[in-house]
Amino acid sequence: MTPWHKRRAVGLTLALGLTGMLALTACGGETTMGGGDEAATSAPASSEGGGAAESPQPAADFPTPNGGELNLYNWTDYISPDLLDRFESETGITVNLDTYDSNETLLAKLQSGGANYDVIMPSDYMVAQMIDLGLLQQIDVASFPNAQYLKPEFADAYYDPGRKYTAPYMYGTTGIAYDPTKAGMEITSWADFFAADSPAAGKIGTLNDQVEVIHAALRAVGSAPCSTNRDDYIKVEELLAGWKPNLAVINSDGVIGRMASGEQTVHMMWNGAFTRAEADNPNLEYVYPAEGVTVWADGLAVPVGAENMDNAKIFINWLMDPENIGEATNFVGYDNGITGSDEFMRADLGSNPAVIIPDEFKALAAPVPGCPLEAIDLYDQVWTNFKK
């Protein structure tokens, strides 16, 4: 047999390798987010007027552009690059863009303390949590020059009373998209979506989003999001177990492509993504399910530790201008919180029932504040069971 020393050598290599391997287990190929290392040349506050074309009637103490940088941390693919170019050329401020894929990633990055961002875009429930955690700076959006354009329903928000921390960016709904010509059924509710005997079996997809899927399933069994009644979750587990064999994919990426190509005929979908899929596949329809639908809203906020506070305020105010935010809407396909922006929107968006919630569905659409811990635990168990 092999000489003993060779085995010992292999054993040693193994031990050394293992130490490294254990490290790999913990972080198997995680991506590292770029950014956070931008040069920190902060623009000093300046009161000299100068050639700033923006902000038509600047408030007495509102900053004016004076070059420098702005570190923007935003959702992936959530702002038009052309719009950022225009901001840069109008204000002389250089924008450094970095992106995240979930509110939780954003929170983790801020909590780790290593980040160095001036403007972030957390969603409603996350804004509330971040305020609680002391991660956001008060910027008093209501005093901004462009606050005059806020839609009345956005002048205040449950997650940010008095708009002290955030300005609205986009809002939207998480509903159902389907192709009535191919799905073989009419879908009007979450119960239809989760039906075990769906004729669309094998062509159904859903977002990989624990919160939204279980919100919807709870609605489908006659309960409500964030329920703390265990019996509801037993019903939800049954519903999801019966539905899973019909499911082709649980994935939040590539939904637009899959729906546009007809690879899937039914999908849980964000309304903005829907408008982009609909452009390629006009047969698609967007459903406001009869049991209710989540309205979410993303806010523009300034995290604690931002080095370019003035530029952050200038950027947020600039995005509250109807023309600028209208152009932003044209890129992402979601409606925004600014009055008069519809004048600058593409015609197909301004009149699209998926974008502007029609009056008859307004009662169905409501925001869902973050669930209590007890519900989060139940969500987590149901979701793990569903995905295993």
Binding site: M1, V10, T13, A108, Y379
Partner: protein
Amino acid sequence: MPALVYLLVLMVIPLGLVIAYAFLTSGRFGGVQGPATLDNITRLFQPLYLEVLASSVVNAGLATFIAFLIGFPAALAITRLSLSWQTVALIAVVMPFWTNFLIRTYAWILLLNREGILSDGLALIGLGPIEVLYTREAVILGLTYAYIPLMVLPIYASLQRLDSMLLEAACNLGAGPWRRFRTILLPLTMPGIITGCLFVFIPSLGNFVIPELLGGGNSQMIGNLIRDQFLKSRDWPFGSALSLLVLALLVIIVMLQASAARRSRKWGA
């Protein structure tokens, strides 16, 4: 001394944190707080989480087995090349590591999806289109692909140390190819094989990117569960407890390997 610092910083402190977290209560927004509890540990033994672990072990095990089936002949073929070609072949084996892991995995999405090369190719000969992407098979394929170099290299190393005279002698004494493989090649390269298997199995077990991208979130593995505990559910203590479970499993496997090595050493002596 530097070794001590290395161990302390890279091993003892992080591991100590994981162990400590596993016995604490989760904070409202992530993080940990008192009081100490055993709840996270008892929760591990719910069938739900054990099932996820079991299916991860099966996935990682299958990936390891396939990597061995492909990796062993590949390593053998490399040792048969001339020395300069061996270098070329080894570089070719390692080369994928020069490309970002995510990009390589994304490439598989393009290859495997319904409109991809595989599906289209099979359609040409009347076997397609097929659904491979977003299945468990795709996850196993991805894991095998990602870690196969870690199988080839240790096996290559032990094959190289093998005295080829042994094979010649066996041949002269009338042993057929299968017999030569079973009684000489396999036992003598066993250390390399075991090393390779562990190198593939361990990172496969904890991987969460491949199940996410190629499994379409449809076939969750233990790595996804742990990641979700930290980032989505923000239950750090339970995530830590799950990590300990994986760690315990790996320690058992490595101990089994060590005792197997000891046994065969005894026989060999």
